[in-house]
Symmetry: C2
Subunit: 112 residues, 2 copies
Amino acid sequence: MESEHAIEKLSSLAHAGRLSVFRLLVKAAPDGLAAGDIARQLNIPPNTLSAQLTILSHAGLVQHRREGRSIIYSADTSAMTDLILYLMQDCCSGRPEICEPVLDAVNKASCC
Amino acid sequence: MESEHAIEKLSSLAHAGRLSVFRLLVKAAPDGLAAGDIARQLNIPPNTLSAQLTILSHAGLVQHRREGRSIIYSADTSAMTDLILYLMQDCCSGRPEICEPVLDAVNKASCC
DNA sequence: TCCATATTTCACGAATACAGGAAATATAAA
DNA sequence: TTTATATTTCCTGTATTCGTGAAATATGGA
């Protein structure tokens, strides 16, 4: 990943509303949620949410598709993976003993 | 980690200068680099760099110590781990098949 | 066609982030 | 004590981001 793209992803997530939207969509992956459902669950005005979704979408963190009158947004988990890999890149430049705790923590996460 | 802290870390990194500083310090971990060395390597004016280091430091991503006339900054790799874990948290809510590719990618990274 | 629902786009004032010149502070050496 | 080096703090004009009211667009149903 290029630095510009990493910065765009990071700044997209560096906002309380957008971070909560992204995390909600990550939980709802891979199905996704309609914009209106997100707005109701997080209590965000529709136009405000739309602006936030546009920013997340432009950063490549979410995708969308139309279903009837609704537009379904879903998290792009591979984009999240790319960002994590970018942050970890060069994390030990020849000194594995520094990086290993990071990998251990990730693998032991309650996630899976 | 709390959402506020994650947002502060994310916004600290969502800036070209600060991201390059952080990545330089991650490569130089755990020894760190003097502020002047960072300024010279990245061609950033000293006062501008100082403001950037203050922001990274306040977010908990870097630490600093004085050595003679220099102040040595170093990356806090555990803070980076915490941020990564926060981003991965709840990433599969009961569906490991979605999260596993993330873990696989992280483990196969050229990092270590 | 007419209407209700779902979502986006436009416009703009308020708040925040930004870079860097100039001055101040801290340390060490002469 | 004086000087040089290293870094930070203060300040300010500029640029960017932010939320949201109002209007526009898109779809499906009556």
